[in-house]
């Protein structure tokens, strides 16, 4: 059953394979977004698709987020399975009315009669010096909205497999992909495909401290864990993956084992995913805690343009190592 051979691919390639598979598997699936066709995608994720699948299924749209996201929602209502690509999360703010007032609400407004099976993909987080208007992380904002399933592809495996599961959902799913990971190479099982969209995932097992993270934090935490392992500190890493609804169980089980938690995210600190996770820990795992919960988040400024300031504005591998050491050394 299990295919032991692996495949070394970039995050971009993983996304591409996911979309390609979806387009092959169902005629109802089509991709729409700015520059997804002729240009091959702003981040070259859909390069070559227009030639392969044609204009009906690879649809370039005008620069009007509200318009084309609304069109995608309409297509979903009409029985199609649209993949709507919003170039970056920053521009999705223009489509919020469609996403909140239509996609997330219609099932409720119709008394359960109308599902909206739309999948919206967006790039999030810092790119490489793309400045404040192209670099923000809006996951906490989207995770706030009932009626949307919010998932975050922090690994190549999820970049490859989240879309096909999302397309099976009768309700709207927003997939966060990460600009900073696009060129990163990693090995995935060559047979890997659909992944679940329900559970957080323990990416590394450990006993001394739980790092709870998502998105680009996952690989940074894994790298930090390697450094910490040389100091005989054994951290557990939880990739949240699903930011709404959050999987309490995995978090609580981990803290029951390690008794300490550090949350890592690139989004701004206040009213963030980490705020929510810490609340849930207090609600569900208070008596398992042996130290105050700590968090590393984005500095609360518009993401700066200069490289060194951009790096300093979000948690890095070394910050994670330092925080963990500080929390553990009291032992």
């Amino acid at each position: 059953m299990t295919d032991k051979t692996t495949l070394k691919i970039t995050y971009r390639e993983a996304l591409k394979r996911g979309i390609h598979e979806a387009l092959i598997n169902s005629d109802k699936v089509f991709l729409m977004g700015e520059d997804v066709g002729r240009y091959g995608g702003a981040f070259a994720v859909s390069k070559g698709f227009l030639e392969e699948f044609g204009e009906d299924r690879i649809m370039d749209v005008p620069l009007s987020e509200s318009g084309f996201v609304g069109a995608g929602i309409g297509a979903a209502l009409a029985g199609m399975r649209p993949i709507v690509e919003v170039m970056t999360v920053n521009f999705s703010l223009l489509a919020l009315d469609q996403i909140i007032n239509n996609a997330s609400t219609l099932l409720h407004m119709s008394g359960g009669q109308i599902n909206v099976p739309v999948v919206i993909r967006m790039n999030s987080g810092i790119g490489n010096q793309l400045a404040a208007q192209h670099s923000h992380s809006w996951e906490p904002f989207y995770a706030h909205i009932p009626g949307l399933k919010i998932v975050s592809a922090g690994t190549h495996e999820d970049a490859r497999g989240m879309l096909s599961t999302a397309l099976e959902s009768p309700d709207p799913v927003v997939i966060f992909e990460y600009t900073s990971l696009l060129n990163m190479e990693s090995e995935i099982p060559s047979g890997s495909g659909a992944v679940d969209l329900d559970k957080a995932k323990v990416r590394r097992e450990g006993k001394d401290l739980s790092i709870i993270t998502y998105g680009p934090g996952v690989y940074k935490a894994l790298a930090a864990a390697e450094i910490l392992a040389s100091s005989r500190i054994d951290v557990e890493i939880i990739d949240l993956r699903v930011l709404n609804p959050i999987d309490n169980e995995t978090i609580i089980n981990s803290i029951a084992k390690t008794h300490k938690a550090l949350i890592v995210e690139e989004a701004w600190r206040s009213v963030s995913i980490s705020s929510e996770i810490i609340s849930r820990i207090m609600e569900n795992a208070f008596f398992s805690l042996d130290a105050p919960v700590e968090r590393l988040c984005g500095i609360e400024v518009p993401i700066p343009y200069p490289k060194h300031l951009e790096d300093a504005s979000i948690p890095q591998k070394q910050d994670i190592v330092d925080s963990v050491l500080k929390m553990i050394r009291y032992d």
Binding site: H259, F286, F287, S288, L289, D290, A291, P292, Y330, D331
Partner: protein, 385 residues
């Protein structure tokens, strides 16, 4: 309503087993009454009550082992009429002391992780004996685990007689207290030699006139001289708990060693106000009970300073380890003949070496040395003791 709790008979006591209630529901008790017999690491102790009122409820059952601070009984104070439960709710002072479901008292200043607190409660660990190693000195799981291990070690292998078990527990209690002392208290030592010829001459003469059973031991002179010296330099008679707390009563803890190992320190209350005869009577009562591990709760918990005469008959000098939270321990060596130079003349005198071990957080060398000088002076005027 007054909550009667398992008393702490020193920093080293963690729990006790209720052997027998000496009172029953509805009994009237007053200060000093023996309310229960409790088996502790220091033997079977008669527990006294410090309030006046009527027993409303006996909560802990005979045979039950409970941590220090556990509410054992409820007492309705004199004059209180209202329904017991309601009144107690009103009377309870908020926040001052968090009572963790009636079992462990936790000071509101205490920092402890929720997990550590939970485990401590489950295992019945007395938090007041634990030093935290976590952030901001907080108590974390590791500290409790350590305390649990120590506690378990003190209770395992309990084969053999009751006394044997008690001695085993006593060993663990001493280990805890002395480790804490050595870890936390910056000891310093001062020593002096005291010419005991006048004291011993006086004692010999005094004993000659006494009935055999009324004879005094030299240690009584040492205790009384110490008590009087404390009156002159009260700083040594204190506790170090969140800073220096001078004690008004001079309750001298007298170290009684057990032949099979272990040491018990009953208090001689207000030793400065007692005559030599009274002190001797007290020793006649205390020493055999201490050796049999049958002391009362107050006798184990009231000492404000410790005197060790363990050198007697054997060792020249005794360098003590302070019993927390006290700030001083005085060690008397054997009284032996030594060469003594005075006024250009050399002679032999009976001499005792006395060593003061003191907590440098609380006392400085100058005061310690003044205390020893006062002691020396007192022993030169035995008739005034």
């Amino acid at each position: 309503m007054i909550e009667f709790t398992m008393p702490s008979l020193g920093a080293d006591m963690e729990d006790g087993t209720l052997v027998e209630w000496r009172v029953k529901y509805g009994d009237f008790v007053k200060r000093g009454d023996i309310i229960a017999d409790v088996d502790t690491q220091k033997g079977l102790i008669e527990i006294e009550v410090f309030d006046e009122g009527t027993i409303a409820e006996l909560i802990v059952k005979e045979g039950e082992n409970v941590p220090v601070g556990t509410v054992m009984a409820n007492i309705i104070p004199v004059g209180e009429k209202v329904s017991v439960k309601k009144k107690s709710r009103i009377k309870k002072e908020p926040i001052k002391q968090i009572v963790n479901k009636g079992s462990i008292k936790i000071d509101d200043q205490l920092k402890i992780s929720p997990l550590a607190k939970k485990i401590a409660k489950e295992k019945g660990i007395d938090l007041s004996t634990i030093k935290g190693s976590g952030p901001e000195g907080s108590i974390v799981k590791k500290d409790i685990d350590l305390a649990v291990v120590m506690k378990v070690e003190s209770h395992v292998e309990v084969t053999g007689g009751k006394k044997e078990i008690a001695v085993k527990g006593l060993r663990a209690a001493i280990a805890t207290a002395m480790s804490k002392s050595n870890r936390e208290i910056p000891h310093f030592y001062l020593e002096t030699r005291i010419d005991m010829s006048k004291a011993l001459d006086w004692l010999r003469e005094s004993n000659r006139q006494r009935e055999l059973k009324d004879r005094l031991l030299s240690v009584v002179l040492l205790i009384k001289a110490t008590a009087k010296a404390i009156k002159e330099v009260p700083s040594v008679n204190a506790f170090w708990e969140n800073g220096l707390q001078l004690k008004d009563s001079i309750n001298i803890g007298f170290a009684v060693s057990l032949r099979q190992g272990g040491v018990v320190i009953p208090a001689i209350p207000e030793a400065d106000n007692k005559s030599l005869n009274q002190l001797m009577d007290l020793l006649n009562d205390l020493i055999p009970r201490a050796r049999a591990l049958q002391l009362r709760s107050s006798e184990l918990s009231e000492s404000t300073i410790t005197v060790s005469n363990i050198g007697e008959g054997s060792t020249d000098k005794v360098f003590g380890v302070i019993y927390p939270p006290q700030v001083a321990i005085l060690g008397f060596g054997n009284i032996v003949e030594e060469a003594w130079a005075e006024d250009g003349e050399l002679s032999t005198r009976p001499v005792v070496h006395v060593t003061l071990a003191a907590d440098h957080r609380a006392i400085d060398g100058y005061l310690g040395s003044r205390f020893l000088m006062a002691l020396k002076k007192n022993l030169q005027k035995p008739e005034a003791l």
